[in-house]
Symmetry: C2
Subunit: 551 residues, 2 copies
Amino acid sequence: MAQRAKNILFIMFDQLRFDYLSCGGHPHLDTPHIDWLATQGVRFTRAYVQSPVCGASRMSTYTGRYVHSHGAAWNGFPLKVGEMTLGDHLRTLDVPSWLIGKTHMRVDAAGMARLGLSPDSVIGARVSECGFDVFEREDGLWGEGPDGVYDTQRSPYNEYLKGIGYNAPNPWHDNANSALDEDGALRSGWLMENADRPANIREEHSETPWLTSRAMAFVDAHAGPWLCHLSYIKPHWPYIVPAPYHAMYGRDHILPAQRDEREHDDAHPVYAAFMDNVIGRAFRRDEVRERVIPAYMGLIKQCDDQMGRLFAHLRATGRLEDTMIVVTSDHGDYLGDHWLGEKDLFHDPSVKVPLIIYDPSPMAAAARGTTCDALVESIDLAATFIETLGGKVPDHIVEGRSLRPFLEGRTPDTWRAFAVSEYDYSLTPMAGRLGVSPADARLFMIVDQRWKFVHAEGGFRPMLFDLDADPDELDDLARRPGHEEIIELMQQRLAAWARRPAQRTTLANDEIIARRGKSRRKGILLGAFDESDVDDELMVRYRGGSSDEAS
Amino acid sequence: MAQRAKNILFIMFDQLRFDYLSCGGHPHLDTPHIDWLATQGVRFTRAYVQSPVCGASRMSTYTGRYVHSHGAAWNGFPLKVGEMTLGDHLRTLDVPSWLIGKTHMRVDAAGMARLGLSPDSVIGARVSECGFDVFEREDGLWGEGPDGVYDTQRSPYNEYLKGIGYNAPNPWHDNANSALDEDGALRSGWLMENADRPANIREEHSETPWLTSRAMAFVDAHAGPWLCHLSYIKPHWPYIVPAPYHAMYGRDHILPAQRDEREHDDAHPVYAAFMDNVIGRAFRRDEVRERVIPAYMGLIKQCDDQMGRLFAHLRATGRLEDTMIVVTSDHGDYLGDHWLGEKDLFHDPSVKVPLIIYDPSPMAAAARGTTCDALVESIDLAATFIETLGGKVPDHIVEGRSLRPFLEGRTPDTWRAFAVSEYDYSLTPMAGRLGVSPADARLFMIVDQRWKFVHAEGGFRPMLFDLDADPDELDDLARRPGHEEIIELMQQRLAAWARRPAQRTTLANDEIIARRGKSRRKGILLGAFDESDVDDELMVRYRGGSSDEAS
């Protein structure tokens, strides 16, 4: 074993719930390979994403900064030129950061044009790809409709499928994310009624094995050191999976929906609007849950099997001995809990994610196989990676904190008292229906070891859950009097957080302290009446090289 | 008269108090030229800078954004690459923004290197100069001491003086900012005891006339449209002025210091630390005020005379008819008021500035010669300039609001209820003495039509003044019980302000609204169980170009 990990394999699944792993407590979903990783590392049981939606969550993870700091607040908000990324930080340590898979990053084309950055320059390409060098960029969102395509980039996965003989115009849809019915007709995976059918593709050609193969090819081709962000597209919708995974789970494996009729009573207006959107209305139907959840579980089972394949390859190539491995997700999936589908809000199924970190180094021996219930944020990963690779975390830029103490079985002297997540719904129809402006269509979550608090802009009341008394988050205590003090504390925490100097990124805190009062020794003599007020050496340059009065 | 101003002459003085003009109420300082401008335009009586210190204030003015948004929190904090400036906004309107004089901008060299921006490219030069094209950059801070020079750039002003025969190594200091005593020995202007002596330079060669001449040369050479930021170095320290201005004012013209012994009682710890710093201790001495204030008044009188010269030139060249003219400052000067010198804190002499805007267009006729007591911020200028030159204010980037309604004699439908200013003292020795961290060495001011509130990070109590009952701000009401409600309101205002989406700058608010719910028509079909849940046209692309099962 090396004294310190040389490489980092940063695996992110998309929309993987924290509790849909056997190590996360699922009673019917056996994920032995991810579980094995947990036995070799630390599993964090309270890891929160900075926003429960792909784009914003990932931009926080990749910058180590809150959404309120980087501004890419939802899918489709470009990450502005100038934001430093994980890739930028690791390059200062001479470690390249490679991407395989999804980022959901939208390029700030206007900002690049303003600064004259060409997307086909090395720097411009990195700015366009969230700081990564691209081994394979594939977001897997090849939607097409009457207004055109959702994503205008090239699709390496469609190119791959076409190259091996899948001849549809969009095999991502027609093969990997659709089924054939009994008559040979195409049944789109976009329609959840088709979720119980096998995808129209050989399993080894589907998205998850393809990305795994790409990762194995990457590992074989790169000596290291490297960070490789292996970013899977699944188990994200469309909910459809190839055989045999489509048939592994059935009605008996579906857990009861975590929901209660009381949640409709005097529901928070924003929550009510999401319950009432097309997704919420769908997921309250039993037939939707009964088709979707087994497919979702099959997708996860496939992911786990691919982890087995990948870990075996790492073992065989010696990489298990010098590579930190991280498994996490960008957000969860409601699956009908709380009368909601997908993600977007702050109940645990949406905002809490699995997080397992394996560090091969001897320093991490004491913590192997442990769990940690500290309040962890996705932005902590950037800090952890910088420190793991020998760097000092630039804490004037990166807002997350290194998790290395936990990885080494140590208790840090101080740790955050609360975690923060944000949700910007200004781009959603719900903002229109609620009549809130783009500035006001925003939510903030503050969670501590006991309470979860949600502040809504726009004049709405807050939400509050007591996670001790009500771990399923069914009873919003802010609907009635009685918790004014805790709400006030949470508002104060939110206010202090919002005032943080998140944009003061051009001068390190050590440098600030070192520079205090130094301008006097560069001749800026404020408050001096006569020479008795200043040291003699400060005046030397001001005694005149010449007393000539000119012209 | 043109229907709309073609050019903007944006004049900023440095450290000019709002009340050291005859139109601002000074009983002994006659400033007829600036007063004349006020008769032709609107004088704003409650204009606040976003930070009472050169660098941070200017970065807010030049970006139209709060300090908390751009992060260049004090002198020496580089403005990060990527922040959009006035120059960037006006270039989209095909109007160049030219600089003559001071910006106090520090370049984000690390950020430029990261993005591969060369300072000698056109774009790199603008990024290096806060978005301006440089006609003349001259900060006038040529300090020298045992640790070297304060500013390492070239000094066009020193080059000018050397070119006309001033032979000292640093004529900015030895001539423009020093005097000769009776024995011909150099007496540095850094020492305030020398403030009553005439500067060792011919008046027409001193800084203010030199910059005025440069502005006249600019006007002659540029047909327009243009914005010209004429940014004077004076009446900022060193406090020394050439004859005859050095002798125009004396002890009789000094207003009593606006201070009270009660201010020392239970003073706010941060305020107490500033009162006790070398500047505060100096300015409580009568001899300091008696030397400095007449020199400061002489510097202002010289500025006003140069305004007369400049305005005459504009009149002669026809520019008065097509050029908006703005006169303001980056902050004020305590001059011993409140037991303080210089600026830094939030009493009116420091944080409030003169602001006069003359618009030549007929639309502005109704407001000529009026005053406006709305709460105005320096960041409003960027918005005003954009709108004046025909643009639409990008309100997802620029946080200020256009002042055009006031310039046209209209009352806007809504206006801000409070103004905000910030002060970051993390780089000052006071932070060290108070034992506060770089993150905590920050103050926020909220001022409305009646109350001025200061929040201090780091666990200190707030400050509160009732401007109706105590316009001189001598009685900090937060020292004793009785104003909890107004303090709570101010804290809530500060919190709401701090939560604003200031970094969501890559998508305009109109665009956000326009995009709501549009992904469905690009094939992202969430919440659909079967075809009955979607319009037929959404499914067309998903019915399969081919149902071949490949390979």
